[in-house]
Structures are given as structure tokens and as C-alpha cells.
Amino acid sequence: MTEEQRKTEEFEPKIIAFLCNWCSYGAADLAGVSRLQYPSNIRVIRIPCTGRMSPKFILEAFRRGADGVWVSGCHPGDCHFIAGNYYARRKFTLLNNLLHSVGLEPGRLHFSWVSSAEGEKFATVAKQVIEAVKAAGPNSRFVKSRVEVA
């Protein structure tokens, strides 16, 4: 086993998943009820709509030690609140680019549209996210562990 393999083999990432109540949370529920298997690294936070997402939440998740963050909501056009995800999409695009520009490793931050009927898609995307975060390794760049001062 190489060092690389051992690192990814032993490391179990903590991933915070912000799921919109109406679509993606429903999809997670459906995946559960359908007994679809995916690794247990996701910790879900239910939000009313992706329009509620703030960059502060994503930064806070990384600061608190999350190795990965996943935000998922309704497909554009199908938002329960009509346009929440449209506004969110622009914010996600800008934040995604900003965080990667300042050195967030690829594979840590994920976004998806998963409807409440797409239990299968939820499990598939979950597996993709977990794989990607595992490959990125433990979060050391944007975590606030202990205050570093004199």
C-alpha cells in the first residue's frame, strides 16, 4: 500500500451538506427509504431554500473543520419559492470561483440540483462528493483550529 493509498484509505472526511427542504432533502429521504447505499460521511443541514444559502455558512463550515461542503437544491425552474435557486446560482458561481482562486483545493466544494424524486441521483452525487473530498485530504487551509496569536 502506498502512502497515498493509506492516506485516502484511513481518512474519513467530514462533509457538511446543505440541502434545500423541498427538493434535495426530499431526495435524501427517498434515498434512505429506498435503502440506497452511500458512505456515511455526510452531515445534513436542512435549509428552506438554496436562496437562503450565504457564503458565511460555507466559510463557517470549513472554519469548523469540515473537509468538504455540498450544497444542493431544486432544479432551476422548479424552485419551491419560484426563483430562490436562480439567485443562489449566481452567488454559488461567484463564491465557487472566489474560494478556488484563493487556494481552496479542487474537490472540496460541491453544488448540485437534485429533485425530491431523484433518490438515485442523490446517492450517486453523494458518492462522487465523498470520493472527491477523500482525494483532497483533510482540510488544513481554511480551518480555524485554535486561535494563533502571541
Binding site: 439567485y87 452567488k91 458561481t93 484563493v102 487556494g103 453544488f111 448540485s112
Partner: protein, 315 residues
């Protein structure tokens, strides 16, 4: 520059004596060389103190939000765009503001001058594109062009876009300038290199918030740094907290920043904080085709959407 000063004084005196405005917000000469200070002229006599020179770096639109009086503001291209932004964001009404537009050929960078001339400067004389610096036993001169601010070298709008009157004729806009050359090079580097670059950029930050307080966009009653439930970031100079502050502040300026450079001008530590805001400005321009403050009818990019907005990164 002398013409601009004369015209600004003339206009200010006229507006004040005719009772059109309660106050004219402009600049007065600094108490030390290489500085100007925001000045609030309320009488015709006070209007005589208004000036315009190469050191008008602070964005006067900063003083507009929540005003109840009628104001005239001397505004260069970037400042005028911020005034437009304020009107769009309902921080002041169009009727309240009389925009004295000042076509601008750029302001000089204080740190660059101090770098080139380390001895204490006692006097500075500006004339015909030259700055003459005088101190104890010396006199040197610099070309304005040598010490212009970075944002001025790549300025997209030297002339105010919306105004009530212009004090001089419009100046030619810069042609063929790529505002993002250095960012493109930076973005081509690896994530580890970029991480190191930005960590190093803010290592001297003393959390004075001068950047935030000089910025016309930062007018929230309660800034996110002062929120406590939850507290998003600590108050110390811990590097993770410093970075969180700069990232979130830049994000709050997305689609609203005019790159006026007041943030960098205000920073006592000389931190190039525009590197954060420009990342977002570049995306807003390239992805949504938007530049701030060009028209009173424009909708800021984060308040609108298109069904076909880019989303390749979304699964």
C-alpha cells in the same frame, strides 16, 4: 488640475448661494503634503477651500448613505458610478444629490511616491503632469505617470457616467487596457501557490477596518464582523480570521465595486486588498456582462437572474 479646482469652487459657490444644496462635499488641501481631506462646505466662504489635485483618493460617495440633506458631491468617474449604485440601492435619492462630475486622469499612489523619495517631504507642487517634491535640502521631481495608482492605470471609466454637470470637458478613455492581466497570471498558478499568495497578501492586516470604512459599499447598520449570534470570525489577528474577513467583505462587494481604490488608499499597512474585489469584478464582467454604475436603470447582477446563467460546475 487648476482649472478643475476653479470650476469646482465656482459651481459650489453657485449651488450654495442659490440654496440648491445644503452642503457641497469635496476635498480640501491636506495639513501635510501628498494628502487631501474630505471637506463639507456649507457656505460660499467655505467653498473657497475646495480643491482638486492628484491626491483625491478617498471616495466621497462614502458619505452619502442615510443623509437627509441635499448634497452636491465632486465625483470622478469611479465615485460617480458609486453614487449611481447608492441610488439604485436606495441609500439616497436622485433628487438629493447634485453630481459635480470631474473627468479624471488618475490619482497618484502615496506609497509609490514615498518609495521613490524616502526623505521627509515638506512641500509638493503639481504642474503640467509633474510633481515637484521639496524637503530639507532637496528638491526632486516625478512624472505623474510614474506614480499613478494601479486602478487608475487600468481605469475603465474616467468620465462620470451620470452627472448633473461636468466641470471640464470629458477626457479620452483608456483604450485597449486589460484590467485583469495580473489576475489571469495568478489564476494560472496552482492552488497551493495561490493559497500562499493570498495568505501573504494579508499577513500585515491589523483589523482596523479602514478598508471597510472607506468603502462606499459598506454601509450596513451591523457589519458581519460585529455579529455575535453566531460570531462568524474572531477579532484577533489570527490568520484564519483575517482571511475570513477579507473574503467575506470582498464577496459583499460583488457586482457593486467600481474599483475606486479607496480601500487600498485607506489601508495603513499598504495591503493590496483590491486583489480580492477584482477577482469578483472579473467574474461579474465575464459571466454576467455587468459593470457597476453605468446607468440608473441597471439592476445589480445579484438581484437578477437569467434562466440560462452559467452552471457547468453544478452537478
Amino acid at each position: 488640475m487648476e482649472t478643475r479646482t476653479e470650476k469646482i469652487r465656482e459651481t459650489a459657490k453657485r449651488l450654495l448661494s442659490e440654496g440648491k444644496v445644503d452642503v457641497v462635499i469635496g476635498y480640501r488641501a491636506g495639513t501635510i503634503p501628498l494628502r487631501t481631506a474630505p471637506y463639507f462646505a456649507r457656505t460660499v466662504e467655505e467653498a473657497e477651500n475646495l480643491i482638486w489635485n492628484s491626491h483625491c483618493r478617498i471616495n466621497l460617495a462614502n458619505f452619502l448613505p442615510r443623509r437627509k440633506d441635499r448634497v452636491a458631491v465632486t465625483a470622478k468617474g469611479c465615485d460617480a458610478r458609486n453614487i449611481v449604485n447608492h441610488i439604485i440601492e436606495n441609500q439616497i435619492t436622485r433628487d438629493q444629490v447634485y453630481i459635480i462630475g470631474v473627468p479624471c486622469e488618475g490619482m497618484v499612489e502615496l506609497d509609490l511616491i514615498l518609495e521613490k523619495e524616502g526623505r521627509p517631504i515638506q512641500e509638493i507642487i503639481e504642474s503640467n503632469g509633474k510633481l515637484t517634491l521639496k524637503g530639507r535640502d532637496f528638491s526632486t521631481s516625478l512624472e505623474r505617470a510614474e506614480v499613478l495608482r494601479q486602478n487608475c492605470l487600468t481605469c475603465a471609466h474616467r468620465n462620470p457616467t451620470v452627472y448633473d454637470e461636468l466641470v471640464v470637458d470629458q477626457v479620452p478613455e483608456l483604450e485597449g487596457v486589460d484590467r485583469y492581466v495580473d489576475l489571469k497570471e495568478l489564476l494560472a498558478q496552482s492552488d497551493a501557490e495561490r493559497y500562499a499568495y493570498f495568505q501573504n497578501l494579508v499577513k500585515d492586516c491589523i483589523r482596523c477596518y479602514a478598508c471597510r470604512d472607506a468603502c462606499p459599499l459598506c454601509y450596513c447598520h451591523v457589519c458581519f464582523v460585529d455579529e455575535t449570534m453566531p460570531q462568524w470570525l474572531g477579532k484577533s489577528i489570527d490568520p484564519a480570521d483575517v482571511m475570513t474577513y477579507h473574503l467575506l467583505r470582498a464577496f459583499h462587494c460583488a457586482g457593486r465595486c467600481t474599483d475606486c481604490g479607496a480601500c487600498e488608499a485607506a489601508c495603513p499597512m499598504g495591503i493590496k486588498v483590491r486583489q480580492f474585489t477584482r477577482l469578483l469584478e472579473k467574474d461579474v464582467k465575464e459571466l454576467y456582462g455587468y459593470e457597476t454604475g453605468l446607468s440608473l436603470e441597471a439592476r445589480p447582477p445579484l438581484t437578477v437572474y437569467r434562466p440560462d446563467d452559467p452552471q457547468e460546475f453544478i452537478k
